[in-house]
Structure formats: structure tokens, C-alpha cells
Amino acid sequence: MKLRESLLGGSAAMPGASLQRACRLLVAVCALHLGVTLVYYLAGRDLSRLPQLVGVSTSLQGGSNGAAAIGQPSGELRPPGAPPPLPRGAPSVPRPGRVSRPDADSRPGPGPARNLTLASVSPSTALSLPACPEESPLLVGPMLIEFNVAVDLKRVAEENPEVKVGGRHTPKDCVSPHKVAIIIPFRNRQEHLKYWLYYLHPILQRQQLDYGIYVINQAGESTFNRAKLLNVGFQEALKDYDYNCFVFSDVDLIPMNDHNAYRCFSQPRHISVAMDKFGFSLPYVQYFGGVSALSKQQFLTINGFPNNYWGWGGEDDDIFNRLAFKGMSISRPNAVVGKCRMIRHSRDKKNEPNPQRFDRIAHTKETMLSDGLNTLAYQVLDVQRYPLYTKITVDIGTPS
């Protein structure tokens, strides 16, 4: 009280004294509000990553090539050793760098020219390599995924020198049991594909996978058929190499944590379990869309995927049904490891929601015997081996 009176310049009641008291009260309330907000803010933070946050800041200031302008919208810092920042400046026209094959004129049939294992280690070295560890020591955990800077595929190829033509990679220090073909159904989504390649190649290499990337491009303008393209990818990839595992990924889905393994498990694997689009959780328990992985045996057991789902929706539910009818269950990572980002985009033309999908998925049990790998018919129009992926353009026909 004494202090206050001396501040007020004596015991006289000045005009505005009550105003001053009111102001002090206001300041006190504001301070209390700020304090409470701070408490809630801190309570919501993931403090276990504090050391990582502190450790990264110094390396970013040090040797980075000046592109420190990348913001942190997701609140996660990029750990050291992660892929370098996206290039700034004018987005360059994508030049995938088409590779002309040595025997150029007509497309060779399924034979030596399509065997991509030729570009690999010499036999003596291959025999002396140890098996790759169960969990790769190269993984970094959560990553920052953004889609606001343009991607230059030439730079991506330079930054991933161990990826061979056609998007093939084999770990050089160990032998991986996971021979994975990654199949991407595609039409007119080059921008998304660039982001996919930019983010996934480093991740797949860190996971020490023996992998190849197959972009299956639907030719023509008729309704999109995702599942049929995936069937084509399965068959065509096997002409290159004896893959034992198939990851089926939409082109616009990027994992946010490299502990989310892009390979096969003893049960069919659902990889995109926590998409940002669905609030980082499963939209429903039987959801099997986005990114999934089936071993060759699991895929053959269900007669592959349905060929008759034209338009958006339902084919992933049909696949779920097939697996269930064959006594298989879905294996998933937890929702933290399984976080994925989807590149926002408007609905594609010629891929409208398929109104038949609800009826169709009610009859999977009958149709799976007569609709699948055993009835797959298509025509390959073109095969291109780009540095970072193989693109197979196919005519898969039209809805009958």
C-alpha cells in the first residue's frame, strides 16, 4: 500500500486514480491470460523432441546453402542429413531426361533388354555382402513435407546418384530381402509425380530396399481405372526382375515418417493409415486405400485386383473384401509413424465417383473369381526408362 501511495504522488486522490487501478487490473488479467495460454501451448508441445530441435538449429545456420527460408508449418524441424531444401528461383521446365536405349529402333520384346538387373554389382561383391538389418540404421523419423516449391527432376536425379535408370536401386552395403516394385497409377499428374519422386527416393534408399518405380499411365481419355492399372503394374514389373513385394501408391501421397516401411509383411500391409486429409486417422477401420503393400503371394491369392471399377471409389474396398475372404488381415503401422500428406487438388475430370461402387463391393465374393489377374487384358503402348522411374503407358480399354 505504501509503495502504491508513493507512486501516486502522495495520499491525495488524484483524478484518474481509479483509471490507473483499472489499467493495472487489465494488465494483470492480460498477464494471467498470457500465462494460461503459454501453459496450454507448452502442454501441447512434443517436448521429447527438444534435443533434436536444439541440435538442428546450429547445423542449419552452418553449412546450409542459404535456403533457410523454408518455414515450419507442421512444427517439425528437418533433421540433419535430410534431403537438401528445394531449389528457389523460377521453376524450371521439367526435363525428365529421356534415356534412349542402346538398341533404339523398335521396342524390344520381353527379353534381355528389359532385364534391369544387368546394371548391378559384380557376382563376387554380391556374395560377400551381409544381409541388411531388420530395421535400417539410416532412418531419421518424422520429416517436414511441403508442396510449395517447384521440383526440378534433373536436380533430384543428381541428388540421388545411386538410383539407376528406370528408378531402380539396390543397397550397396547389404543384401535386402525386400525386392519391391512400387506401382503408381497415373494420368496427367506430372506435378504430383515430381514431388513424389523428390520425397520418396531418399526415403526408400534409407529403408535399404531393393526397389524399382513403375508409373502406369492410362492412355486415352476414358474413365480412370486405378485398380486395373495396378494389375498391369504387377504384371509388367515382373518382366524386369523377380520382385517379391508390390507397393501400390497413389501419386499424391507422401509419408511423413520414414519408419513407415514401404515393403511387405506377413499380412497385407496398409501404409497410408493417418492421412492429413482424414485428420491423421483412419476414416474407417476397413479402409485400405492410398498406399498399400502386398507380397507376390498375397496378390496372387486374391486373383489380383478388380478390373471393373471405373471411376473413383470402391476398388480399395473391393480389395479389402478379397483379402478378408481369403482369410487375411490388414497389418498397419501406428498412427504416429503412419502419418501421410496428400497433395491438395481438385477432383480429376474423367474420374468421377463411381455410382456402381456400392453395389459392386457388395458382391466381391462372387466377382473376385472372374474379375482379376485371370481376366486382365491390356495393351502396352510405350515404355520409357527415365532416370528416376519407368513409365509404362497402357491402353486398358473402356467400361464395358
Binding site: G279, P283, Y284, E352, P353, P355, F358
Partner: protein
């Protein structure tokens, strides 16, 4: 305070600013939808979780969903069609049982959608979906 002329000009602007977002089309979240659809819970035996699940699959919680299906067009969260339930320019002899213009199902006010969904349940039942 409110009497000054300067303040007066702000009020209408403020009101418009508040109201304008209130009448946009909307992408509901599961939680928001659960709140809004409470009146539908248990109607003709269909529970709220069943509604949420159905709506997710037919419209993905997007009030602006509009789809063509076999010569008729389906509108909004509940995908109500213009052949029997509402009227639009495509089908002129619609029975229009809900007595409403179909595009009213594309806004974020779900009272009319729910009214019509209830009528569908009364007349046809859950098999509509």
C-alpha cells in the same frame, strides 16, 4: 460509443463480415456433423453413427457434392436426387416430394437436408442410400 458516425458505418460491415461466412458451402468434420445431425439419431431406426458412416461414403462430408447418376442428379451431404425428392432444371417433372429447390442442399444449413432425408426415410426407407 455506438453513437458516433464513424462507428455506425462499421456496424453493417461487421455484420456482413460475420454473416457472410455463415452462409457458405461447407466441408464438415466428423465431430461437427455429429452435433448437427443429432435430430436424425434413431429416426426410423437409423443411428447417428450409421448416418455419419453413410454420409462419409456418399459425399465425404462435403455439402457441395453434386453427382450425376443414371440420368438424375444427386445433391449435397445426403445426395438427394432430383427425380423424386427435389426440383431443379434438369428434370422438369420431378415429383419433388420435399417441395424444395435442389440447390438448397448445397449450402451448409442442414435443416432442409435433414427434413428431406426424414421424408425419404418415411417414404422409401434407408435403402435409398
Amino acid at each position: 460509443f455506438l453513437g458516433t458516425a464513424k462507428m455506425m458505418s462499421f456496424i453493417p460491415l461487421l455484420l456482413v463480415g460475420i454473416l457472410f461466412p455463415a452462409i457458405q458451402a461447407k466441408q464438415f468434420t466428423k465431430c461437427e456433423l455429429s452435433q448437427v445431425l443429432k435430430p436424425m439419431d434413431g429416426y426410423k431406426g437409423t443411428t447417428l453413427p450409421e448416418w455419419i458412416c453413410t454420409i462419409f461414403h456418399i459425399s465425404g462430408y462435403d455439402t457441395q457434392t453434386i453427382l450425376n447418376n443414371n440420368g438424375r442428379t444427386e445433391y449435397g451431404l445426403f445426395q438427394i436426387n432430383n427425380k423424386i425428392w427435389c426440383s431443379d432444371n434438369q428434370i422438369l417433372q420431378s415429383r419433388n416430394i420435399c417441395d424444395i429447390s435442389c440447390d438448397k442442399f448445397l449450402d451448409d444449413d442442414l435443416t432442409d437436408d435433414m427434413m428431406c432425408a426424414k421424408k425419404i426415410l418415411d417414404n422409401k426407407g434407408i435403402d435409398y442410400w
